[in-house]
């Protein structure tokens, strides 16, 4: 039982770490640190870096949360150890 709980927590933490890396790279590197470089590319009338900072990252955040919720839901079932 204890090992089960530990494995579940490990899987959770490793999922969080992966997703938080994406959460960090896209807005902070794409939208801030390397914004000038990315602005050389345009997306319609938007410079790409500007678009990432004012539009793209926000859409990505939504996707990240739902992806996490879905994955955790699967993990919950997989590690189902009593309860509900």
């Amino acid at each position: 039982m204890k090992n089960n709980a530990e494995a579940y927590w490990k899987a959770n933490v490793s999922l969080i770490v992966k997703l938080l890396i994406i959460w960090f790279v896209v807005p902070f590197l794409g939208g801030i640190v390397f914004v000038d470089t990315l602005n050389q590319i345009s997306l319609g009338g938007y410079p790409l870096g500007f678009w990432i900072a004012q539009q793209g990252s926000i859409y990505m955040f939504v996707v990240l949360i739902f992806y996490y919720a879905k994955k955790m839901s699967d993990l919950d079932d997989q590690f189902s150890n009593g309860g509900e």
């Binding site: 709980a5 579940y8 927590w9 959770n12 933490v13 969080i16 997703l19 938080l20 959460w23 807005p27 902070f28 939208g31 801030i32 640190v33 914004v35 000038d36 602005n39 997306l43 319609g44 009338g45 938007y46 410079p47 500007f50 678009w51 900072a53 004012q54 539009q55 990252s57 926000i58 859409y59 955040f61 939504v62 990240l64 949360i65 739902f66 996490y68 919720a69 955790m72 839901s73 919950d76 189902s80 150890n81 009593g82 309860g83 509900e84």
Partner: protein, 578 residues
């Protein structure tokens, strides 16, 4: 119909709806009172969170800040910072706090760190952050009411204080979640409808998010290219590339707002209202969907409003608007004192430029942009009335949520939890109302002398939450070894560093004359502005917490078991008191 009458009707109708819902859904028990009975659907909760979250700062102030004082790209700090925090919330806090199943944030800190001292410190941090946040709301409410009642900012603020007081103390506490759903609907329509109109008018594309990346109907150039051209001609920085301070400042500012979002108690407690841990995760996603609708529209509003304003004042290069022929909205906003013109060269024309010596638009308060936007674009009166109602909905829903968080910290955590555990339920509720009253007065008083624009003031609140509450909760969940001494030392040093930095530049309790270092660039540490300092405070918090924790004893067995309990998703009971 005349604008003033129409505005009264629309605002009156929406207020009647909120009050009707509040009475219909009023709480019958303390559990309903604090966590809405714990049975709110995740989508409904997401919508309520959206209204709770999107305050006067988001609705009234943000687009103006992006378009004007943060000069376009620099405003990204708000767009990123106030959305990215939900990712942290969904992964690092909400599910576990829902599993823990109590009413308030200080309760979690008190139990996890098995100490009343930790609890009291959490209450103090919570109050500091929330009160600063309420001041920001008051500024927004003052602006909205001054325009709506056509009076000065001070009179508008006074009217706003009275209404917030009545709303929160008498009606707003009950059924707050359901009222907020209605408020969300009002505010999102009020925000997007004018944006759709304006986008359609300028670019022919009805979706503002796409409109900002499209070409202008008038001359076929891209909106953003045109904007860059117009602003640089007047000597302002280029719209799509001008940063807010250094790249480091933008980075730290964004991080502060993100961590602060995840540490603000009035947002965290929203996730105690859903039925299960699974729902808590999903609900954070839904909340962000509803928030993103406004946040992805805001950059379009900012850019297009700036373009419209520029072309009203200077229709073609070198051809200025005559002051005597100024449009009605110009006069209306002059009444409030938030827009000021000074004819420096006595030619009766309005010259707007980045050069302070010749600029005649001596004051354009950022906070008027969204409210004035439909008037500038000459949209129908009902749209303008709707925007007024939306601004008030945004300010009221957040003010109510904050007042609930502050008063529950005082009445539930301090009074019932520590000072007088035997207090009756009725006395607890009364104490909470008195606490609310004082908070409104204090916030109103500081609102007369606000330290910054609404969104700027709010940014300070995020810094305080980021540097104290977020690290303490996160360590409590993810680091089993964390103990009382570490958490308390971390919170105190984190918020202490942040407060010290803010006060030294902005004045003690924001009274400007008491600042001992001017609020100027050269005095800033590594060029980081006070609004952005929360992330540095959070790092200090983490470092101090770890250091102190290492040299003190590990937490007792029952606390470590508690951590195991909140980590496992199954068997979540209802949220309970004790």
């Amino acid at each position: 119909m005349e604008l003033q009458t129409l505005t009264y009707i629309v605002v009156g109708l929406t207020f009647a709806t909120y009050i009707g819902i509040a009475i219909w859904a009023r709480a019958g028990s303390t559990k309903e009172f604090y966590v809405a009975g714990g049975g709110v659907h995740p989508i409904a909760n997401g919508m309520a969170t959206g209204a709770d979250w999107m305050s006067a700062a988001s609705f009234i102030s943000m687009a103006g800040l992006i378009g004007f004082s943060y000069q376009g790209y620099g405003g990204s700090v708000f767009l990123l910072g106030w959305t990215g925090g939900y990712v942290l919330l969904a992964m690092c806090l909400a599910p576990y706090l829902r599993k823990f199943g109590k009413f308030t944030v200080p309760e979690f800190i008190g139990d996890r760190y098995y100490s009343n001292t930790a609890k009291v410190v959490a209450v103090i941090c919570l109050i500091l952050a929330s009160v600063t946040y309420v001041i920001g709301q008051m500024k927004g409410i003052g602006v909205a009411f001054s325009r709506f009642l056509e009076t000065s900012y001070e009179a508008g603020l006074t009217a706003g204080m009275v209404i917030v007081f009545i709303y929160a103390v008498l009606g707003g506490m009950k059924g707050i979640t359901y009222t907020q759903i209605a408020q969300y609907v009002v505010l999102i329509f009020a925000y997007t409808i004018p944006a759709i109109f304006i986008s359609l008018e300028l670019t022919g594309n009805p979706i503002p998010q796409l409109g900002l990346g499209s070409t202008l109907v008038s001359d076929g150039t891209y909106v953003l290219d045109k904007l860059n051209q117009v602003v640089t001609e007047l000597g302002f920085a280029e719209y799509t590339t001008s940063t807010r301070g250094s790249t480091l400042n933008m980075f730290v500012y964004t991080m502060s707002l993100m961590i602060g979002t995840a540490g603000l108690p009035h947002v965290i407690i929203r996730f105690f209202t859903v039925p299960s841990v699974k729902d808590a995760r999903k609900s954070a996603g839904w909340a962000l969907v509803f928030i993103a609708i406004l946040y992805t529209t805001a950059p379009a509003v900012a850019g297009m409003a700036r373009l419209n304003l520029m072309s009203t004042i200077e229709p073609t290069p070198g051809n200025y608007l005559a002051y005597d022929e100024r449009p009605q909205w110009f006069k209306n906003w002059e009444t409030t004192g938030l827009l000021k013109y000074e004819d420096k060269n006595d030619d009766g024309l309005v010259q707007y430029s980045a050069d302070k010596a010749t600029n005649e638009m001596v004051k354009i308060d950022n906070d008027i942009l969204v409210l004035a936007n439909p008037e500038i674009a000459r949209l129908p009166n009902w749209v303008i009335a709707l925007v007024a109602a939306g601004g008030l909905a945004a300010a009221l829903s957040t003010a109510a949520g904050l007042l609930l968080a502050i008063s529950s910290a005082i009445s539930h955590d301090l009074l019932k939890g520590i000072i007088r555990p035997d207090i009756s339920e009725k006395a607890e509720l009364n104490a909470s109302r008195i606490a609310m009253g004082f908070t409104v007065l204090l916030a109103g008083y500081l609102g007369f002398n606000p330290p910054d624009f609404a969104a700027g003031t709010v940014a300070l609140a995020f810094g305080l939450a980021a540097s104290s509450i977020f690290p303490a909760i996160m360590l409590g969940i993810f680091y089993k070894r964390m103990n009382t001494a570490g958490a308390v030392a971390g919170m105190l040093s984190g918020i202490g560093v942040t407060l010290f930095y803010v006060f030294q530049h902005k004045g003690i309790m924001f009274v400007q004359s008491t600042s001992f270092l001017g609020d100027l660039d050269p005095n800033w540490f590594l060029g980081i502005e006070p609004n952005a300092f929360g992330a540095v405070g959070a790092v200090v918090n983490f470092v101090v917490a770890f250091a102190v924790c290492k040299i003190t004893a590990e937490p007792p067995k029952h606390v470590q078991d508690l951590v195991d309990f909140i980590r496992a998703p199954h068997g979540a009971g209802d949220a309970t008191s004790h």
